[in-house]
Symmetry: C2
């Protein structure tokens, strides 16, 4: 085994490349704007140029074992990106094979939420675990499911879309995915802001400090700040959000009997405001067989490093 | 590889032992009453005696590769039966190791619903598939989930309890498991009879032929028979049951992106009455990414053979 892997966090805005050692130390990084390379071949060339610069800082390319990529809309089985809405390349994009040909090293690519779960398993809160579920609570709700030490991909590599399980199937919020009451419509940053708006308009919280903000501009951070100042509405929004997550985890447990649920993403900054109602509701609602057996953990990776470490974990483990 | 395996279908009433060849042909069987052996060691001895009789019919014990067991409440990782409510032995029962010591062949044991999924993968509707979900619609709702060609067991081997996902979390039927609105409370034989009773009491079906039966004695078979005679209530009960199963499958798809859902158990005798609303609701409700990609199949194993073939599949494949 060589000393390092190369990791690529391919986002809609930025592409970050880094060199990572087996312990999860990011040795050096460089980045560029993804949208500056609307032609795939130019993007591949730019990656190669940036990679050369990184190789030079760690003793040359011969120190590099492989490249791992975390990206949106990846078909893992095909090692392609398919119909990504936030990337410049349309249709089915054979990025991994192109990079492998250009760089001359092994390249493995997976979805960013799945890479995050691998990173957590190798370097973070799920170290040593073989069965856990990672939920990323950001603009949307992403997930990565690990069963028996392996990521769950499914037939077409679209497994792990737990943000699109319906938690309120009868009268829930409409989701752009076409369903009603999807977890994502409630338990994402967007969903939290929506809940706050509904509470504000209900007339039940005349005292809330959030009334001073333009209602359409309210963000989950505003709700969090208000809650931390003791605002009743803010606290109840997080209690409700946590309750729905706890209910959902009670369903997810029946699928894979996980050792832990690991939470990541902007919303988790709310800490106990969110985690306490999650655990309380889960333990109340879960099938008796599962009570008291799962841990509820926050990610142990730093926000800025998690995506690169996930991609690095893929490079180290996926042969 | 030897010519046959031994398979044990350990039920609360009967224990059936059989010899099965690699193609899934059951060569010979014998059975006895499980409850006649309240002492575990006596049960093991009885299995050994019956096995000897079967060996003699296929050319001796040296033709037998292994023993596979399908049983309730199995902890697969420990190869024990734990706190089974329908078996005579209390607490944690090391049946596999005792049989292995007594018989002198490799013994592997798993839960009956999981064995059924293995049987379907080796010999039935899921032949050659690596990602599918099997739902057993009987007195309860059981499940076996296969991901990447492997059964999903989870940390403590309690994975695959999809009958206890909540499909009506807000106002659903109470479930003995402690949850509300569990799939099993609606989509089991018991649930179908309960739905029929509710419909009868609603006053909306004065013409239903089911009114002639004592309401507490109505079974899912009565509902099926009525539906096949054109009874509106009977048809609507199956439409409702299928709708809830379709909704549930739309949730399950987000977990493991399966190639197929395979249905087994008494309720599936309803055929299209049940399957058509399942598929219709699934395709309406599922996340766009999954539309049109999963098959909905009926088990291809005969009722009387499925449990033995599942146990045989375990013996052939689990080394």
């Amino acid at each position: 085994m060589k000393s390092y892997v190369l990791a690529l966090d391919l986002g809609g805005t930025n592409s970050v490349l880094g060199v990572v050692d087996p312990s999860g130390k990011i040795v050096c990084t460089d980045s560029f704007k993804t949208q500056a390379y609307p032609e795939l071949d130019d993007y591949v060339e730019q990656c190669a140029v940036v990679a050369e610069g990184l190789y030079a800082q760690v003793g040359g390319k011969e120190q590099i074992e492989a490249l791992g990529i975390g990206a949106p809309d990846v078909n893992y089985w095909e090692q392609t990106i398919e119909n990504a809405t936030n990337l410049p390349w349309k249709g089915i994009v054979p990025l991994a094979s192109k990079l492998e040909a250009r760089l001359g090293i092994r390249v493995r690519m997976t979805n960013d939420a799945k890479a995050a779960a691998l990173g957590e398993m190798l370097y973070g809160a799920a170290k040593g675990m073989k069965d856990f579920i990672m939920l990323t609570l950001g603009t949307g709700v992403g997930s990565g499911i690990v069963v028996n030490g392996q990521l769950v991909y499914g037939k077409r590599s679209f497994a792990g879309e737990l943000g699109h399980t319906s938690i309120r199937p009868e009268n829930g919020r409409p989701c752009p995915c076409g369903r009603k009451g999807c977890l994502e419509t409630y338990c994402s940053a967007t969903g939290v802001a929506q809940t706050a708006r509904e509470y504000l308009l209900s007339g039940n919280y005349p005292e809330s400090t959030l009334h001073v903000l333009p209602i359409d501009a309210i963000t989950s951070k505003d709700v969090y700040d208000a809650a931390m100042q003791g605002d009743r509405l803010g606290n109840e929004v997080f209690a409700f959000t946590g309750q729905l997550l706890g209910e959902s985890c009670a369903d997810f447990a029946t699928f894979s009997d996980p050792e832990a649920f690991v939470f990541f993403g902007g919303l988790t900054k709310a800490g106990d405001l969110l985690m306490k109602p999650i655990v309380k509701t889960y333990e109340e609602m879960v099938f008796d067989n599962y009570k008291g057996t799962a841990s509820f953990l926050l990610s142990q990776l730093k926000d800025a490093e998690a995506a690169l470490l996930g991609a690095a974990a893929l490079a180290w483990t996926d042969r």
